[in-house]
Each structure stands twice: as C-alpha cells, then as structure tokens.
Amino acid sequence: MRLALDPLSAGLLFPFIVGVSCSIAAGFERRRLFALCVPPAATLLILLAADAGTVIVGVAVIGVTGWLGSHEHVRLQLAATCAAIGCLIAGFAIAGSDDFAALRGVQPESLRLDASAVLLLAGAGALLPWHLWRSAAADGLSALVAACAFIVSFYLATRVLFDLFGAAQLSWFGVGLLMVGAAVALSGSLRAAVVTEFDAVVLIGSVHQLGLVLVGLGLALIARAVDLPSLLALALDAAWLQFICLVLGRVLLLQCAAMVQAGAGTRRLDLLGGLIQGMPITAGGIFAALFATLALPPSLGFAGFWLLFQALLGLARASGFGLQCLLALVVGCVGLSGALAAFGAVRLCGIGLLGRPRIPRTAAAEDGPRRTTMVMVSLASLLVLLGLVPAAALWPVRSAVARMSGGSAGIVRPLLLSTGEAMPGYAPPVIAVLLLVGAGAVLWLLHRHGPSGRSEPAWSGGFAQPPAWLPFGDPATQVTARSFAEPLRRFADLRAWATLGCLRETMTQMRTLPPVIILLGVLVAVLITWLLAS
C-alpha cells in the first residue's frame, strides 16, 4: 500500500471535505457513527492511493458499506461494486503494472492501452450511483455514499485519462465520451422534468450535471489529441465547475428533500405546495441549489456552462467538418438539456414550494432542527459565493490542471473568466452588482414614492367557492406536477410518434406549414449537392 498526495488528489479534497462534512453534520446520529465514517474514510484512501491495490481496497469498502445502509438497492449496489472491481483489476492487469508511478512511464502499445482505458473507465462508471435512476428514497447514509461515489468516479476517470495515460492519444475515446455525456445530460433532464416525486426530481436532475461533466472530459480528451493545451485546460476547468455543482448542489438538495419529507410527510409533488410559508429556510436552500446548478447567470452552473461553451467553440474552430458537425449537435443537446433542467426546476419550485398547500399536513410543515438548517444555510451561501467568484472554485485544481495540460493553467483572474489575455469574458461579480443595484433602486423607488399596496384573497380564477372543509381552496384548481409536464410529455413521447396514426395526423397538421417544409427541403438538397460537388 503506497500513498501520495499530488495536486489532483489535493484538489479533490475540496469537494470531498465540504460535501462529507456537511452530510455528516446534517445527518449525525451517534448510533450510526461507524456507518457514516466508513465511506468517507475509504474515499480518502482512494484519493491518496498511489497504487491500484489501494484503490481497489477502497472501492470494495465503499461497496460493502451498502450493507450498513437501509435503502432498498443494496443488491444492485453490490453487483455494481463487484463489476467495478473486476473492471479495475482487469484494466490495471492489461496496462501491465499496478504502481501509478510505473504506469506513467510505461507506454503500452495502442490496442492494449485502449482496452485498459476502456476497462478502467467502465470501472469508474460502474461506481456511480446508478440505482438512483430507478427510484429515490434518499436517506442520509445513501446520500453520503452517493456523494463519495461521485467523487471517486470523477477522480478515477481524470486520474486514468489525464495522468496515468496522459501521454496517449485517446481522441476516439473523447468523441465517445462527448456523445455519451450529451445523451446522459439530455435523458437526465428530460426524465427529471416528468417524474412526480420530490427527491426523484432532485436525484435524476443531477444526472444532467453528470452528463455535462462527461462532455467536459470528452472535450478535454479531444483537445489533447489535437494538441491544444489551452483548450484542454479550459475543458478541464469546465468539467471541474460542473462537478462541483454536481456534488455540492446534490448534497444540499438531498438535505432539503429529506427535510421536506420529514416536514410535509410526503414526497409526492402533487400533495405538496406552499412550503415556502412554513419552511422558508428549506425553500431558500432548494432555490439556491437549483439556481447554482442551472445555467442562469450569475450562478456557478452558468460559469461552468460558459467555460464549456468556450471549449466547444475553440475546438470547433480547430477541427474538421465531421467533428464540427458533432460539436454542433452536442451544443444543441446541451442547450436542450439545460432548458429542460430549467423547466424541471421551475416545476419543482412552482408546485412544491409556491402556490397553495394541497393537503393540511403541508400547511403545517416546519423547518427541521437548527443544526441541519445551519448546515443548509452555509452550504447554500457557499454555492452562491462560488457562483460570484468562480475562480475560487477553480483554485483547488489550478496546479493539477496546469500539470495535466502541460504547463498551461488557463487564464484565471479573480473576478473574470476569459479565454485569453485580451479577450472579453464573463465577470459575475459585476453582473451581480449591476442586477442588485438595478432591482434595489426600483424597489426603493416604489417603496418611497409608489402608492402603498393592500392584501386581498387571491382570485380563484373563476372557479366556484371551495367547500368549507378545503381551507386552502380546491387543490384541483391548481396546476399539478403531471399537468405541468403534460405538453412536454406529449412532445417527447416517441412511442406516439412511431405509430402510424399519429404520423398521419402530424402530416395533416403540417400541411399548414408548406412554405417552411418546401424551403427546408430545397435547402437540404442544395446543401447536399454542394457538399458532394466540393
């Protein structure tokens, strides 16, 4: 067993320490002390490991902790751990050494290297908490295990791709990661926009972030293959920011989800509503976490998205026609999945937190114990602050990125993200100050000079008076989680598109747009002939 602390491990200690300490502080119980401490200890072991054996021991320990938890997917998690261990052992065996220092020097021939990289990445991928895709009753321990699993997976992937095999050309690998990442992001946000349970929305929503991390890593691999170190640094920075969003946002959201379940007694969105009145701190935490993960300025997610877009842009300028088209598709997918994630977030907040309570229990919900709310408030403030100063979030991995990209650390200035010395960039603190000053001035003017307001019962929208036993109005007159997602469900229902009847119906409706269709056909034909002729 050999241990070492290099810049990559040191950088990952930041999300590890923040995520784990917040999870433990919020969910601490004396009788579960052992179960709460084992996964972080094993993760720390993996982060500090300098040989394959130590890594595999750590992975096995994390897998076994599943037994200690109470969630229902223990068997699936154990199977995934076994698969991960098998892949890791096979991968390191094919690579020819189990010592990291020795592996860096060895240059195995291309086929062996590819096979080894595939196996090691599959091992890292199998460690991700995939069982959460199916259902999501989150308790404190499974949340902690999942946070550790995300950190270990990201660490193993970056360690293998950018450090151990750092001299290899894995460009096809990058293309694969890019496509998988776009598909994962899209499917995650699409599913999160239609599921109807509070914590399922949260958990599946984080799959979107995971996809963006994969896209960033894929871009970095391609940038390395075409020998553009500055782009490599940019893509790694983007992947890192998305990863921070993923881990910290997820920890905060899961704590809030647990609080909602304890306070309101249900996870079904259609029974919640109006939580912001009784649980203001929890609601604030959910707002902060969702805002931090979405691509809305000036949030941390937007900073990551901005860097990701710049990396896509730089790569598109330096590559050939085929890759450019692929990158355009990835941009479309990332945009669609980002907008769907915003759709899901608005749906979650609008139905669960705002509006009127749908059952009396929800109206009586209250924030949880002080300790947990303190943890939530500090984590939420950290996320907001990191969004305003993304350079602070990038600082822990600065030297690791510099090493992985061969000396080019990217341009990191405290208040500005930019792609080059003289290039204009994205300055979140200035944006935030301008927005605050603008909104504050308007509010002050209204407060000072505007007429005073008065409170009245909300207009019922023309519905009949609710009966006396429904003090918060008839819940059926509010939009529900299902009806909110209905247009999307109809639009995204591929099975319906496949049936002939629907196809015919679509064709009939499309008759109303003949000029567009004709124009499109002509354009495609011109494009194809032109491309063939040149």
């Binding site: 901005w306 450019q324 088209c325 915003a342 909300a458 519905f463």
Partner: protein, 302 residues
C-alpha cells in the same frame, strides 16, 4: 477620453431605450391595425398606460410569498441589464466588455424563470398554465438560440456581441446561406419569446407596470440583437462619436423596418396555438443546425 465617450455612448443608448421601448409595441399594434383596415392607437398610449399603472394602488394576494414581491423589480432589472448590454447605434459602449451573447441569452432565461415562478406563486390555475407554456417554449427556443450563438461565435472566434457585430460590420461576412438560416432561426425564437400570456394575471398597479416595461424592453432587446448580429450597417465603431448621427439614423431605420416585419408576421400568425408555436420552434432548431453545418461546409471548401 475614450472612457468618457464610452460612458456617453452608454448613457445615450439607455436614454434611447427609455424613449423608444414603450413606443415600439404600440407602433407594432398600429401597423397591424392599419394593415387590417383599422385605425391604430395613439403612439403615446403605452407611456400613458405605464404612468397610470404606476400611480395605481397594487393589490397583493394574501398568500403571496416574498418572491412575488421582488419578482417584477427583478425581471425589470434583468431584462434592463440585457437591453443595456446589446449595442444599438455604436460599438464600444461602457458595458461593452461584458456584452457576451451567452450572458444575454442567460439573462433572458433567468427573467423568464422568475416570471414563471411568480406566475405560479399564488396558486392560480391561469398563472400555472402560463408558466407551463413559457417554460415549454423556452425548452425549444434555447437550443435553437444556442446553435445560432455557436455558429456566429465560431465564425467570429468569440461569443462577444461586440466582436461579432464588428466583424459583420467590417464586411467579413459569413456565407449568405448560413447567415440567412441563422437569421430565420433567431427571428422565430424572438417571435416566440415576445409573445406570452397568462403570466401577468396576478399583478396590478406598479408591479404590472414593471412587468409590462420588462416586456417592452424584451422586444427591443430582440430587435437590437438581430440588428447587431445580422444587420449592423452604419453602426458607429468604438470611440468615434462623429459617426454617431449616422449610426442613430441607421438604427432608427433598422428598428422601424424590423418592427414592420414583425407586424406582418404577427398578422399571419395571430392567435397561434401552442402546438404550432412548438412546431415553428422545432423548425428554428433545424434552421440553426443547418446554419452551423452550412458554415462548417463553407469553411472546409475555403
């Protein structure tokens, strides 16, 4: 000296926005009315309406959350910032270093999310339906817009509005095919973004005035964006106040003609159903994708 010119340019730009933004919607309706054989409203109608609303007492629902109280001011500030970032008659304004296309797209999306949340806040069904529609339309508009941003940014080497506009103005044009496809996509997206219904149902008095003002600003953001990205003819270069009169004239002509185009499109698509809007937006995504492919194909040949 240059800082002073930039500040003056920004101040003039904001003054123009304040003066013109309330006139444009009523001008739009006026042209529509004239084209359909009616006499339109007075051009100063919106101004009067805004002042009237600002003086009225606002009525707040009893179960409204703090979000409801802040949302109108926040929306107005966000869209206002976006409007201040997009150049109109000159490049190199004081906020020019911040004017990133992604940031502008993000600000518009942020305002949209806040407005959708505020619409759902008191739990009325109409606000909820409005929020659903807004967010669904956004889900399709966003990829189209991002693809257009990608195309233009690949061409200009940066996602800064200033650099793209400067490059277009200097005549280093992208191939017309790519440009017109991208323009079609942006027009469709902008058209879908400026029409929204049901979201302001719960607001009254000064809150309603702010939300209406934000909608007016949104219209002018789109017009200026289309102007700066695709038709920046006559736009004054940075630090050249002597070219401002020409820039102002060109901007006025451009804005008026774009408004007229929008009015004609508006008559053709009056009371469009949601399903058709989404279909139009799907076309916009396709246009934007084709614009990118067209650009890349052209670059390969060159």
């Amino acid at each position: 000296m240059n800082t002073l010119i930039a500040l003056c340019g920004e101040a003039l730009h904001i003054a123009l926005l304040v003066a013109v933004a309330p006139v444009l919607p009523v001008l739009l309706r006026c042209i529509e009315a004239r084209l359909t054989g009616r006499t339109g409203a007075d051009l100063l109608d919106t101004w009067r309406e805004l002042l009237r609303l600002a003086r009225k007492q606002r009525v707040v629902a009893e179960n409204a959350s703090p979000l409801y109280r802040v949302a109108p001011a926040a929306c107005f500030a966000i869209v206002g910032l976006a409007a201040a970032l997009v150049p109109s008659f000159t490049l190199g304004m004081a906020l020019a270093p911040l004017s990133d296309l992604l940031l502008i797209v993000g600000l518009l999306a942020l305002a949209r999310c806040i407005q959708a949340l505020a619409g759902m806040d008191v739990g009325a069904s109409i606000g909820g339906i409005g929020a659903t529609r807004t967010m669904e339309i956004a889900a399709l508009a966003e990829p189209a817009l991002l693809l257009v941003v990608f195309t233009l940014a690949v061409f200009a080497g940066s996602s800064s509005v200033e650099l793209i506009a400067a490059m277009q103005r200097d005549g280093n044009a992208i191939s017309w095919g790519s440009l017109s496809l991208a323009l079609a996509a942006v027009v469709l997206v902008g058209f879908a973004d400026i029409r929204r219904d049901g979201l302001v149902q719960e607001f009254s008095g000064s809150d309603l005035a702010l939300l209406n003002a934000a909608d007016m600003l949104r219209l002018i953001v789109w017009l200026n964006l289309i102007g700066a990205l695709f038709l920046p003819f006559g736009m004054a270069p940075a630090g050249a106040p002597l070219a401002w009169p020409l820039g102002l004239g060109c901007w006025l002509v451009r804005t008026l003609s774009l408004t007229a185009v929008l009015a004609v499109v508006g008559i053709g698509t009056a009371r469009m159903r949601l399903a058709r809007v989404t279909r139009l937006l799907a076309c916009a995504v396709l246009f934007a994708l084709l614009a990118a492919v067209y650009l890349f194909g052209g670059a390969r040949v060159a």
